[in-house]
């Protein structure tokens, strides 16, 4: 096991990693930006090192300063958390070149899975179904028709340089195909100075379901069940739960098996997440792999009893997994709500400032992960995630009631937060029924 780990992150995930290190009896070094100097979680580190100014590019993204901090503090590993440098393969290689273990997958696996096209090809080789698409630019009308026929309607035409919906057309049947193609090309040309467009199957009303995997350096890969992250707003996850209320146990085991196959095919050797879209008919499509720990990892911890951060650190230190697929028996139901310092009445505008009242929920079945406290000044310079409220109960209805109770107890003043919004979602009959798709929030609220 490592003797001392440097945490190259901040906020709730830094605190989460500190907690894991404490329980592993590993010393902790925290780097911080000038903006975070007075953050409470730093009190729990054995050592803290200022690495630069408030802007991430001046501190949490400064790989050389972080490695220098690991060197002067004689840390033997760096935990990158999520975001910042967590999926930067070059940083991982730099760490290892300096004899500091990067707590994450090997760089090659990270590079492959981090590249969308390469990950698709790994998935195809592992016979994991991907979202059918043109795999290239559409430049010939006959070919376009042929591909469209293969993919099936409805489909999407997307600008290669795309983003923000520009150069994007949903095509319902083949009579509209060429017209939509031309429109998309023109729009793409106007927006991105490129007429390059490609084609992809349009997954109708999908759920977002992801599988947690963990692998060691000895070839063992175990999945820890799935998380359902269908409640999103503008691609930001708001609520996650496990098990998914929208898939059958048959699909569940298919997804989990696919995730393990993919991880093995990519020689994966850390904690990671394989993301899928599942359509209303239960057909699933691999979309991407997150080669890091995720915000919503505690959902899985609550149903499996596995501490993912501790497990991730152990495998990074070369230990074999302490459990096998057989010993993992998920039980009960877990839900996570992200409490962001954002004003739901003002289009989720981030709010920052001094927290004058902060009473977190507690009692049975409730877990709160937060770096906030009464007297904490939330910085406007970083993301607005203030707390993760998690519950575990034997059944989903009980978990929903427990979450409603916990959200009701949570008092934060004077900052605006997403608490009132989350309470509305939890009380919504469609959420209770579980029969929702990724457009639920935007359609409903």
């Amino acid at each position: 096991m490592f003797r001392r780990i440097l945490i190259a992150n901040r906020g709730e995930i830094a605190l989460r990693i500190i907690r894991a290190c404490r329980e592993l009896n590993v010393e902790v070094v925290c780097v911080f930006s000038e903006e975070d100097r007075h953050a409470g979680y730093l009190e729990f580190a054995d050592q803290t090192i200022c690495i630069g100014g408030p802007a991430p590019r001046d501190s949490y993204l400064k790989s050389d300063r972080i490695i220098a901090a690991a060197e002067v503090s004689r840390s033997d590993a760096i935990h990158p958390g999520y975001g910042f440098l967590a999926e930067n393969a070059a940083f991982a290689e730099m760490c290892r070149a300096c004899n500091i273990e990067f707590i994450g997958p090997n760089a090659e696996s990270m590079r492959t899975l981090g590249d969308k096209a390469a990950a698709r090809s790994v998935a195809q080789k592992a016979r994991v179904s991907i979202v059918p698409g043109s795999d290239g630019i559409l430049d010939d009308d006959n070919e376009t028709f042929a591909i469209a026929k293969k993919i099936g309607f409805p489909l999407m035409i997307k600008a290669s340089a795309g983003g923000g919906g520009r150069g994007l057309r949903v095509v319902q049947d083949k009579t509209d195909l060429l017209g939509a193609l031309k429109q998309a090309q023109q729009e793409a040309d106007g927006a991105f100075k490129s007429t390059d467009v490609y084609m992809e199957k349009f997954i109708q009303r999908p759920r977002h379901v992801e599988v947690q995997i963990i692998a060691d350096k000895h070839g063992n890969v175990v999945h820890l069940g799935e998380r359902d992250c269908t409640v999103q707003r503008r691609y930001q996850k708001l609520i996650e739960e496990s098990p998914s209320p929208g898939i059958t146990s048959r699909i569940r085991s298919d997804l989990c098996a696919a995730a393990v196959k993919l991880a093995k095919a990519a020689n994966y050797d850390s904690a990671g997440t394989v993301e899928f879209l599942v359509d209303s008919k239960g057909k699933y499509y691999f979309i991407e792999v997150n080669t890091r720990i995720q915000v919503e990892h505690p959902v899985t911890e609550l149903v499996t009893g596995v501490d993912l951060i501790k497990a991730q650190i152990r495998v990074a230190a070369g230990e074999k997994l302490e459990f096998s697929q057989k010993t993992i028996k998920p039980s009960g139901h877990s839900i996570e709500c992200r409490v962001n310092a954002e004003d739901p009445d003002e289009n989720f505008r981030p709010c920052a400032g001094l927290i004058e009242k902060f009473r977190i929920p507690g009692g049975p079945g409730v877990r709160v992960d937060t770096h906030g406290y009464q007297g904490f000044r939330l910085s406007p310079k970083y993301d607005s995630l203030l707390a993760k409220v998690l519950v575990w109960q034997p059944t989903r209805p009980a978990a929903i009631r427990c979450m409603q109770r916990a959200l009701g107890e949570f008092q934060i003043e004077p900052l605006k937060t997403t608490l009132p919004f989350l309470r509305k979602v939890l009380a919504h009959p469609d959420f209770a029924s579980g029969l929702i798709d990724t457009s639920f929030v935007e359609r409903t609220f």
């Binding site: 009190e43 002067v72 004689r74």
Partner: protein
């Protein structure tokens, strides 16, 4: 009516010195001034500066590495600071045999090299960027320094 100017001076004296009450009695003259006590509730709002709350086995860290810029006592507001622009190891001289670039009393100009910082095997000469006389050296040779840590206090000439 007493001289307003004198009262004004008394008030200034109060504000500058953070007095909360001032009474002057001189024969018939009796002046009493009061200012509010400093806000006592703010204590709650300001997080304490890292007390040793962890009761787990203490880290066996080299003691010299525990300094942080925040710990430096600001004794003299007139002194200028030379701070570390990076994270690394502080070297006072070009090599172990050489004398320090800057000691107490050393006159420096903006282009004077005051120390070398090493990070990831790269040694960088650090320039003063200001002029004056070194008044205090706040770090020891081979000590680890963080970003923004005060290395030298300089008296401007």
């Amino acid at each position: 009516m007493p001289d307003l100017d004198k009262i004004k001076q008394l008030v200034e004296m109060m504000v500058t010195n953070d007095l909360v009450e001032l009474t002057v009695r001189d024969g018939d003259l009796d002046i009493k001034l009061k200012r509010p006590a400093p806000c006592s509730g703010e204590m709650i709002a300001v997080p304490a500066v890292r007390p040793d709350v962890m009761q787990l086995p203490p880290a066996a860290l080299p003691p010299s590495e525990n300094n942080s810029a925040a710990d430096v006592v600001d004794e003299d507001k007139d002194l200028l600071e030379i701070t570390s622009p990076m994270v690394g190891t502080f070297y006072a001289g070009a090599d172990p045999e050489s004398p320090p670039f800057a000691q107490v009393g050393t006159k420096i100009s903006p282009s004077s090299v005051v120390c070398v910082l090493e990070a990831m095997k790269v040694f960088s000469e650090i320039k003063a960027e200001l002029a004056g006389t070194i008044e205090r050296v706040l770090v020891k040779n081979e000590q680890a320094v963080e970003f923004g840590q005060v290395l030298f206090l300089v008296r401007s000439d």
